[in-house]
């Protein structure tokens, strides 16, 4: 299958960061979502980390490292003015109770119904077990769920599918998808193609996407 050149991961993160609003409480998953934190410095966004912290600061280096202060990806981080700590059941009450405005996560696959798979890659050969972490709670509880990912696998196979073939993290909760090639909204009627990488055509995007895309009447090139 043909593979297209698109946005580098940092720029997918930049485009996704533009979707966050001032005042939002936001949880960022591992990978491309974490890169979003580089694009929102100085903005009035509250980063929630499921380990039990709000207003997670930038990564810590050298003498700023404190072994009692890490994010949910096991990276040393820093405090900023107004950082707060709380226990884990409180942290997940915030998540499950719908108090987190936006969660951004990566995914192996997303379906046209807004199902997504991100916790168990069958190729690892561990059967049913894998690392769920907080992904299922975040998927079930966040008000808005954004997925950032490459549009296709390394082999060029579509990751946007009619039905998941990997074990689901959540069902029907994905709202918006940012890939290296496109911005796609998940709507009751299907996947709506809203923005495309400059130079590509809707046919190009369709050729690396399994479900039939609905082309937005306001379709435009990805703007940064």
């Amino acid at each position: 299958m043909k593979k297209f050149e698109g946005l580098p991961q940092e720029i997918i993160a930049l485009r996704a960061s533009q979707e966050l609003k001032d005042g939002d409480y936001v949880n960022l998953g591992i990978g491309i979502p974490t890169m979003i934190s580089n694009w929102i410095e100085g903005r009035d966004i509250f980063l929630h980390s499921e380990i039990g912290m709000i207003k997670t600061g930038p990564l810590a280096y050298d003498e700023d490292i404190d072994q009692d202060l890490i994010n949910a990806s096991c990276q040393p981080v820093t405090e900023v003015a107004g950082s707060i700590y709380f226990d884990i059941s409180e942290s997940f009450a915030m998540i499950r109770g719908g108090h987190v405005d936006v969660t951004v996560m990566g995914a192996f696959q997303v379906s046209e119904k807004g199902d997504f798979a991100g916790w168990n890659n069958p190729s690892r050969g561990l059967g049913n077990v894998g690392n769920i972490g907080g992904s299922m709670d975040l998927s079930a509880g966040s008000r808005r769920l954004i997925i950032t990912m490459e549009h296709t696998t390394k082999n060029g196979d579509p990751k946007l599918l009619k039905e998941l073939t990997y074990p689901a993290t959540g069902r029907g909760n994905v709202n918006l998808i940012f890939t290296d090639l496109a911005v796609i909204e998940v709507a009751p009627e299907g996947l709506i193609l809203k923005e495309i990488y400059p130079g590509l055509t809707t046919e190009d995007i369709q050729s690396v996407t399994e479900p039939k895309l609905i082309i937005s009447p306001d379709l435009k090139e990805i703007e940064l």
Partner: protein, 246 residues
Amino acid sequence: MDKVIPKLEEAIHDIEDGALIAIGGFFTCGVPRDLLKAIISKGIKDLTFACGSGPLLGAKEEMSELVANNQIKKVIDSYGLARSTSKGLDDPFEAQVRANKIELEVVPMGTLAEKYRAAGAGIPAFYVKTGAGTFVEDGLVTNFSENTNGKETKIIDGEKYVLEYSIKPDFALVHAYMGDKEGNLYYRKTARNFNHVMATAGKVTIAEVEKIVEPGEIDSHCIHTPGIYVQRVVQVSRREFEITID
């Protein structure tokens, strides 16, 4: 009442083979590593470790000893496996899981937190939407397929919820920055994580603390875990370690 126990081995003297033991901590942060070392030294076996988010990935050294000594029967965790697939292939714990020598039960992190909170609060089971429509609804997510039985679900206000049971450990081992002699605990920064809920859940809760102080020395408005939940307090020294998991 003075709950301070002078020695680690004395603090865990009544943990026997087959115990269900909660281990606080989140990856490298806030893990009761000295209490784990005492369990390694005691050599007790058939242990089930109820975790929250990879404390045994964080306590790499202790984990490899527990596996080498064949002390673990089962681990319950939300994130119990190496992050990296390639490093997982060299991991002795993962090898035991692959060989079905150790059972790994995987639970979503928030549901796991609530299982401890509920146990501490006298709630035997509860409904959550987390995991509906996934393997989690189909039954326990475990490599021991004979233990995977379906879970009860209920539609409430048009949405599907899954019935989850609380976890009441025989012992909860927690790490706190400060504790007074009556067992009131204070944690530093993100090292609180699972330690507080697990302290409430344990039939017996044993806290290792970096500083033991007199009652009244921790600001009484700032106690994170009231001493009513804590039976034993033992002093450990603050250790520096690498903040990384594979």
